[in-house]
């Protein structure tokens, strides 16, 4: 049998699947969007998301195109350690579980992660944090738009620009109509499809692959993929874990969900989400390891997982892979669009408008959200069109920056003494050193160096120049808030948490 000779599905089948799922997501977005009448509803789903939806949205958002496409790439590049390194990203969800409970408690009326940094560290901390947040959000969006285009091309031969454009437009449309309600609602369905699909694909692949043969062939032809002392892979292990910590701790995608969940739900939902996510990259990574042994020619390494599954399982398998990855892409792109739009509206546009006009209404914020979602979609589309670099190259460039945010976030969330200068210096110096490591050594150490340098600077400056921050300031309300939310903020302020 001749593998890797071209797309497994016909373009016609690909276009049909694309049309079907596009209609489904946009339809569901409009259906759920009926409830998003207020800005609170649109941005944080009324702050009333329960455990089932909360867990599903955590799993669906974290099973991104990166999980299904980068985990096999990691395994293909860095062997067994690579697959394991990717799986450590679940630790980020476990670590964020207790944090989400505290975030919800400290900021019952909050919207964004940048809002926390602004109240905790002032302008000094906000400027680098806002820059990093936006940079990361854009690179993640672009990497996923690229993944959509590459996937459709490799599976069905649909030209990259067309596939990529459809994926972006569909996600923009349903996020635009339904906001966070649509995002979390579709995430629920998408997480079910993804998990069932992955179990079926994994089971079917395992029945067709002899693990001993895979091991034997790898040991003979590509020995480093099985080596215990694979230097680059050893360096990548904690790098990936710290990258995931940085991604989750700083990103508004996760903070907006913490605000959207009912009090007490966040810790359970994130911990459960981490548990459900943990086996996914291991299964996906196995596909990457199996490719060389099965004689499947790999041209674009970031498409190895879908290509192996689709080649082994034929047209039916390709359809399943298509559906699983389209769901995982959509569930992450919509989350990013919604969360980044919240960030732009609440932390940039609304403060500027308030300074100019004195008051900002919910209706105005709702309108700005729509405009920013469209603008973000257009930006991601225009940056993904050149199809430059692999997904890992695009995403891991943001690694050192997000890695340097870990300490300011956890330090500021739990302790009174960290100061704005400690937060700012650690983010700036951590990012710079991490980027130097990115170019001097490689992507597989950049987040690690960023997090380590940032930690040393943050600890040192907190020890040398401590402050006495009062957490009640985090619950303060903007002017014009209604009476009930003001009372809950007053209760929190008086509790002295």
């Amino acid at each position: 049998m001749f593998f890797g000779s071209g797309p497994v599905l016909s373009p016609t089948a690909g276009y049909w699947m694309l049309a079907l799922f596009s209609l489904l997501w946009v339809g569901l977005g409009i259906w759920w969007g009926r409830r998003a009448s207020s800005y609170d509803g649109f941005a944080v789903a009324g702050r009333n998301v329960g455990l089932a939806l909360g867990t599903a949205t955590a799993v669906a958002t974290w099973i991104t195109s990166n999980t299904t496409m980068l985990a096999p790439l990691f395994a293909l590049q860095l062997g067994l350690w690579g697959a394991l390194a990717y799986a450590t990203a679940s630790f980020g969800l476990f670590a964020f579980a207790p944090m989400s409970g505290r975030i919800r408690k400290l900021m019952p009326n909050g919207y964004t992660a940048v809002e926390f940094i602004r109240r905790r560290y002032g302008k000094l901390g906000t400027i680098p944090f806002l820059f990093i947040s936006l940079f990361y959000a854009i690179t993640w969006l672009v990497s996923m738009a690229m993944a959509g285009g590459k996937l459709l091309n490799i599976l069905s031969g649909i030209p990259y620009p067309i596939g990529m454009s459809v994926v972006v437009v569909v996600c923009v449309l349903y996020t635009l109509f339904g906001g966070m309600y649509a995002v979390i609602g579709t995430d629920f369905i998408q997480s079910l499809i993804i998990l069932v699909g992955l179990v079926v694909v994994a089971g079917a692949v395992l029945t067709q692959v002899n693990i001993n043969e895979v091991h034997g062939q790898l040991a003979e032809e590509r020995p480093m993929l099985l080596a215990v002392f694979f230097p680059a892979a050893l360096m990548a292990l904690f790098n990936n874990m710290l990258f995931s910590f940085g991604e989750i701790f700083h990103s508004n995608v996760w903070w907006s969900r913490a605000f959207a969940m009912r009090e007490g739900v966040g810790p359970k939902a994130y911990a459960l989400g981490g548990l459900l996510w943990l086996p996914v990259p291991i299964v996906a990574g196995f596909l990457g390891l199996a490719a060389p042994a099965l004689g499947i020619g790999i041209s674009q390494p970031d498409t190895v997982g879908p290509l192996v599954a689709a080649t082994l399982l034929g047209s039916a398998g390709a359809l399943l892979v298509f559906v699983v990855i389209f769901c995982s892409l959509a569930s992450s792109i919509d989350s990013l669009l919604a969360a980044t739009s919240d960030l732009l509206v609440n932390d940039i546009i609304a403060p500027v408008a308030k300074k100019a006009t004195g008051r900002v209404s919910d209706q105005q914020k709702r309108m700005w959200s729509s405009v920013t979602i469209i603008a973000l979609g257009f930006l991601a589309w225009s940056m993904a069109i050149p199809n430059y670099g692999t997904l890992a190259e695009v995403l891991f460039f943001a690694g050192p920056m997000v890695g340097s945010c870990i300490w300011p976030v956890i330090g500021g969330l739990y302790f009174r003494s960290p100061s704005p200068i400690a937060a700012c210096s650690s983010m700036v110096l951590g990012s710079c050193c991490g980027l130097i490591a990115y170019f001097a050594i490689g992507w597989f150490v950049a987040s690690l160096i960023g997090a380590a340098v940032s930690g040393v600077i943050f600890g040192l400056l907190t020890w040398l120049k401590p402050v006495d921050f009062h957490f009640s300031k985090l619950a303060e309300l903007p002017q014009g808030a209604d009476e009930s939310t003001e009372n809950s903020a007053m209760e929190l302020a008086s509790s002295g948490i």
């Binding site: 590049q77 062997g79 060389p292 002295g496």
Partner: protein
């Protein structure tokens, strides 16, 4: 750019299919061969020069030392070539597929060289690269890897420790605040 490449690939495949169809029956092919034998020297020279123009070659034949043990090889599309195979110096197949590029990973320290062969629609080899792509793999020093692994482990432990201490402290503060409220009530 990708769209253009696909269009080009599709066109090449289409041209190849047409040329296969145009070859006709074996008898016709034999007859064609007889006609070819009667070609004069000038025509043969022209054909040879055309072959020279359409050699199968790697876009890059030498690389910086690979520290991670993987490399991406690229070569030109060969007219009539519908699939390609890359083999290493021990003639083990490292890639077989339709696209003119290959990602090869898991290589151990040392010199590695690769050759690419183009195959036509019937699976016959029609061209092989004359100059191999040569790569030296020299993995990162193990000392450096272990130091960075250790730093990562320490940072990870520190984060977990800070989270545990922070959670315990904040829950203590919350309990104190609740007991104060109860006393006031």
């Amino acid at each position: 750019m990708r769209f253009n490449q696909l269009l080009l690939l599709s066109s090449l495949l289409f041209i190849q299919a047409l040329s296969v169809a145009a070859q006709g029956t074996p008898e016709e092919v034999e007859s064609d061969q007889q006609v070819t034998e009667s070609l004069d020297t000038a025509e043969l020279d022209t054909a040879e020069s055309q072959l020279t123009v359409t050699q199968l070659t790697f876009k890059q034949t030498t690389f910086d030392p690979a520290r991670e043990g993987y490399v991406s090889l690229e070569w030109n599309k060969f007219p009539g070539g519908v699939s390609y195979e890359v083999v290493d110096s021990q003639l083990r197949s490292q890639y077989r597929g339709a696209f003119p590029s290959a990602f090869i990973s898991g290589l151990s320290d040392g010199q590695h060289s690769f050759l690419v062969t183009a195959f036509d629609a019937t699976g016959n080899p029609i061209a092989t690269s004359e100059q191999p792509a040569e790569l030296t793999v020299s993995h990162w020093p193990k000392n450096q890897a272990f130091i960075l692994f250790g730093i990562g482990f320490v940072v990870f432990l520190a984060i977990i420790l800070v989270l545990i201490i922070g959670s315990l402290k904040s829950s203590n503060r919350l309990s104190t605040a609740i007991s104060n409220d109860t006393e006031l009530a």
